[in-house]
């Protein structure tokens, strides 16, 4: 057992090095799982590296043995006829016990990690309700009176407890740098608890196939120090300022164009089918993370949503160019 452990460490050092190099230069994308930024992500990554060490050791041992056996015992002139060996009980027992030992040394930390990652929600955790819709995310902070969409703002260093629900089909909440995924299942309430350890913007996306625009169901976690997070939450909890100029014409278009039937803007409209737009102007992305919140992207989206997100429930409305630019001005004023 001790010997095996030492061999595993050796294999990890020898063969893990190229992998770590890869991790350094090739595996550090924005959605990477190998540079965890939360306690959950770290627990998972440590376990992954532990098991990878064993996997590497076994891989190298078996492949080397296979190649060596084939080379050493290949048919050459003068090689004698092999002996008819039918088996060996001692060997069978030995190579049953070796996998048993390895499985045990993987199973124990696994069970420990299972109970650690699914422990009771710590006191003082921030509760966030995330509801999956085809194809966007509804985000509510019941304690703070904040409702937003497709962007999850979280404080760094404070445990968060995500309550996960679905309004239609099964989705899965996955922000890889912050740890593993958890499904959003209609008729069931799931939860996911973790503490973000570093401020930053972490993209993620739906990980359970949910229909035609599954690939377009992206989201963004914005993690900030608690003070900044609280300031954001206070701003979000209030209604928007009344619009002026171009933006005021945009509000008229919003009310006349059918937008109000689906979208809620605090103090203005009460639609509930689509995302809450009260503070739309402050968001970094739109259309569940597939576009940047820039005037030209917003205009393109308003002109023809299903062209950018196939199957989108937001229809292509007969908007004039003037209406589109007024709407852009209005929506961007909702900070």
């Amino acid at each position: 057992m001790v010997l095996l452990s030492a061999m595993r460490r050796g294999a990890l050092l020898l063969l893990g090095l190229p992998l770590l190099l890869l991790a350094g230069c090739g595996l550090d994308g924005p959605q990477t799982t190998v540079l965890p930024r939360s306690d959950l992500g770290r627990t998972i990554h440590d376990l992954f590296m532990n098991i990878s060490g064993w996997a590497l050791l076994i891989f190298v041992a078996v492949e080397a043995l296979l190649i060596w056996v084939v080379v050493a015992f290949r048919d050459r002139p003068g090689r004698p006829e092999p002996r008819s060996v039918h088996g060996h009980l001692g060997l069978e027992i030995a190579w049953t016990l070796v996998p048993v030992a390895i499985v045990l040394s993987i199973a124990i930390p696994t069970v420990v990690a299972i109970f650690r990652t699914q422990a009771a929600v710590p006191a003082g955790a921030l509760r966030v309700e995330v509801t999956g819709h085809r194809w966007w995310w509804e985000v509510r902070y019941p304690e703070l009176g904040v409702v937003t969409a497709n962007e999850v703002h979280l404080p760094v260093g404070r445990p968060v407890d995500l309550t996960l629900k679905s309004a239609d089909v099964i989705h899965s909440f996955w922000v890889p740098p912050l740890g593993g995924k958890r499904d959003l299942i209609p008729g069931k309430v799931n939860n996911l608890t973790f503490t973000v350890e570093a401020p930053g913007e972490y993209p993620g996306q739906c990980a359970e196939f949910c229909g035609i625009s599954h690939a377009n169901m992206r989201l963004l976690v914005v993690a900030r120090p608690p003070g900044e997070f609280e300031a954001w939450a206070r701003r979000e909890a209030t209604g928007p300022r009344p619009p002026a100029g171009d933006a005021a014409r945009g509000l008229e278009a919003f009310l006349a164009g059918g937008c109000a039937a689906c979208h809620l803007i605090k103090g203005v409209t009460a639609g509930t089918v689509g995302p809450d737009l009260t503070h739309f102007g402050g968001r970094r992305t739109l259309a569940s993370g597939i576009l940047r919140n820039r005037p030209e992207d917003l205009a393109a989206w308003l002109r023809n949503p299903p062209a950018l997100k196939p199957g989108a429930l937001m229809p292509k409305l007969p908007l004039t160019d003037a209406q589109v630019s007024a709407l852009v001005a209005y929506l961007r004023s909702l900070e």
Binding site: L22, G26, L27, G29, P30, T33, V34, I44, L47, F48, A55, I58, F59, V62, L65, L66, V69, V70, F73, D75, P80, E81, P82, R83, V85, H86, G87, L91, W95, T96, P99, V103, A107, T110, V111, A113, I114, F115, Q118, D168, I170, W174, P176, G180, K181, R182, I185, P186, G187, K188, N190, C206, A207, E208, F209, G211, I212, A215, N216, P310
Partner: protein, 587 residues
């Protein structure tokens, strides 16, 4: 009977095996084309090669095709062709039922692929998770094609499973005790029991789905008191044993090839057999490891993780026994052995990544990511398909009477090995980089471009390798050297009869005294028995009714998608076909 009519009415297990083999290879190409189209779409970020809708159809049909229409029928080709020959029988226990299995399989395959023709190919992935498959969220015919197609294919597998269990239990030659059965026959027997026990849950699951979609029940509808997770339990209670249904036959093939080419008996025969049984047994206790992200709770997660990890033990034992079989041998590196060695080398990788997501916390990151896509292809191509190619190369001379070209074979092997790794190894990296599976597009800024491009290049190398293999097989039929009865110095009974074997297989049923009976015969200088039958051999007569019954099922299923009158007509054909079948030999 010869000609087309002969093939349509055949009840000869060898011909049915060949039919399964040809169909499996055709659908392997169909599924391969689907894969190439997907890889082209994913080669670049935000590509517009195929539309979202088409892409979703492609991956649904790729998975469904490769599992049910390529690997399973290719395995069935070996069961059919080899089992009677290996156990010293003249045919399977129920020859007409055997033909029925094939024709029902073909009906299901045609129905599934007819969906392309009417532009409604299934598009909810091969796992078809409820409630995405409900009428509300999948209103078209797509899911109807899928559920009816799978239901029909399930009937085919169940019918065949009963047939092979009875055949192996009852038709063994005198002296062929269980512990003298060739390992391939053992793995076939285990596979058939897995099919018998695993297909009922998915059949029930599909019936629920059919009722939900056609009659408005609410089995999977939470608003009506149903449960979407019910589908996942039923599906994976089938779906995990299905993995072993796909891979155990390949393990059997490899266990036949290694001893022959090492000129040594299989090392630890009983242990290899028992570990196959254990893998099959544990296979039923691990289904929820596909559901670690659904929030089952820590206790079920731990239990399913532990049982899943247990499977690594018999699997490891098998690999060690294969290595020990090669150890000390006189290894002839010929085409079947190359593929068998490729199987061991690649299957180990699939097994090891499997251990990783057996651990629920790790699986939280890997589930539904490209890491899992890499894993499952190392098991299904690196494992099952390498095993199948090894078997094709090994038994091709037996079935066709022609030798394959060794040089082309070796070329195809290295192309397949290289192409396979270039295609699928980078997918591990993509998974670690956070790329989910089943997405038709991805933005440039997530950094998945490079490995996706590499993977797309790989798929062309892999395809070239497979085409070289198939071309060499086709060419051998015209130009190949004639194969003797026993080209590899084989150990098992199929090498005792001419290549290709006569209709009746054995002129006289050989009494069996050893596990490697043919080797023992050659060693002891015993006569291989008469070449000509001493007396008339009774063989089952051809029958058209299996084809009629299968056609009736196809008509009935098409009716469910179009007009109820067709359902009635189809069922009538089935009833008349079964009736005539029952009294076929009374005249």
């Amino acid at each position: 009977m010869s000609g087309v009519r002969g093939w349509l009415t055949t009840v000869d297990h060898k011909r049915i095996g060949i039919l399964y083999g040809i169909s499996g290879l055709v659908f392997l190409l169909v599924g391969g084309v689907e894969a190439i189209l997907m890889r082209l779409q994913l080669a670049r970020p935000a590509a517009g090669f195929v539309a979202a809708e088409t892409f979703n159809q492609l991956f649904t049909m790729h998975g469904t095709t490769m599992i049910f229409l390529a690997v399973m029928p290719l395995n069935a080709a070996f069961f059919n062709y080899l089992v009677p020959l290996m156990i010293g029988a003249r045919d399977v226990a129920f020859p007409r039922l055997n033909a029925l299995s094939y024709w029902i399989f073909l009906a299901g395959a045609l129905l599934l692929n007819a969906s392309w023709v009417v532009g409604a190919a299934p598009d909810t992935s091969w796992v078809g998770y409820a409630n995405l498959t409900s009428r509300q969220f999948s209103p078209g015919l797509n899911t109807d094609f899928w559920l009816l197609g799978l239901q029909i294919l399930g009937v085919s597998s169940l019918v065949a499973a009963v047939n092979f269990v009875v055949t192996i239990l009852n038709l063994r030659a005198p002296g062929m005790t269980y512990m003298r059965l060739p390992v391939f026959v053992w793995m076939t027997l285990i596979t058939q029991f897995l099919i018998l026990l695993a297909f009922p849950p998915i059949t029930v699951g599909l019936i629920f789905l059919m009722f939900d979609r056609f009659f408005g029940t609410g089995f999977y509808n939470p608003a009506a008191g149903g449960n979407t997770l019910l589908w996942q339990h039923l599906f994976w209670l089938f779906g995990h044993p299905e993995v072993y249904i796909l891979i155990l036959p390949a393990m059997g093939i490899v266990s036949e090839i290694l001893p022959t080419f090492a000129r040594k008996p299989l090392f630890g025969y009983p242990v290899v057999v028992y570990s196959g049984v254990l893998i099959g047994f544990f296979g039923f206790g691990v289904w929820s490891h596909h559901m670690f992200t659904t929030g089952l709770g820590p206790l079920p997660d731990s239990a399913f993780a532990l049982i899943t990890m247990l499977i690594a033990i018999p699997t490891g034992v098998k690999i060690f026994n294969w290595l020990a079989t090669l150890w000390g041998g006189r290894i002839r590196l010929q085409m079947p052995l190359w593929f068998a060695l490729g199987f061991i080398a690649m299957f180990v990788m699939g097994g090891l990544s499997g251990i990783m997501h057996a651990s629920p916390p790790v699986d939280m990151q890997q589930q539904d990511s490209y890491f899992v896509v890499a894993h499952l292809h190392y098991v299904l191509i690196g494992g099952a398909l390498f095993g199948i190619f090894a078997g094709l190369a090994y038994w091709w001379p037996k079935a066709t009477g022609r030798m394959l070209d060794e040089r082309l074979g070796r070329g195809s092997f290295w192309l397949i090995l290289a192409g396979f790794n270039v295609t699928f190894f980078p997918m591990h990296f993509l998974g670690l980089l956070g790329m989910p599976r089943r997405i038709y597009t991805y933005p440039a800024e997530v950094g998945w471009e490079f490995w996706n491009l590499v993977s797309t290049v790989g798929v062309f190398i892999l395809s070239a390798g497979i085409l070289v293999f198939l071309w060499s097989a086709a060419a051998s039929l015209r130009r190949g050297a004639e194969a003797p009865a026993d080209p590899w110095n084989g150990r098992t009974l199929e090498w005792f009869v001419p290549s290709p074997p006569p209709d009746y297989n054995f002129a006289e049923i050989p009494p069996v005294r050893h596990r490697d009976e043919l080797w023992a015969m050659k060693l002891e200088g015993r006569a291989p028995g008469a070449a000509q039958p001493a007396r008339e051999i009774h063989l089952p007569a051809p029958s058209v009714y299996p084809l009629v019954v299968a056609a009736g099922i196809l008509v009935a299923a098409s009716g469910a998608l179009s007009h109820p009158a067709l359902v009635g007509a189809g069922m009538l054909v089935v009833v008349v076909g079964v009736y005539r079948w029952a009294f076929e030999y009374r005249r």
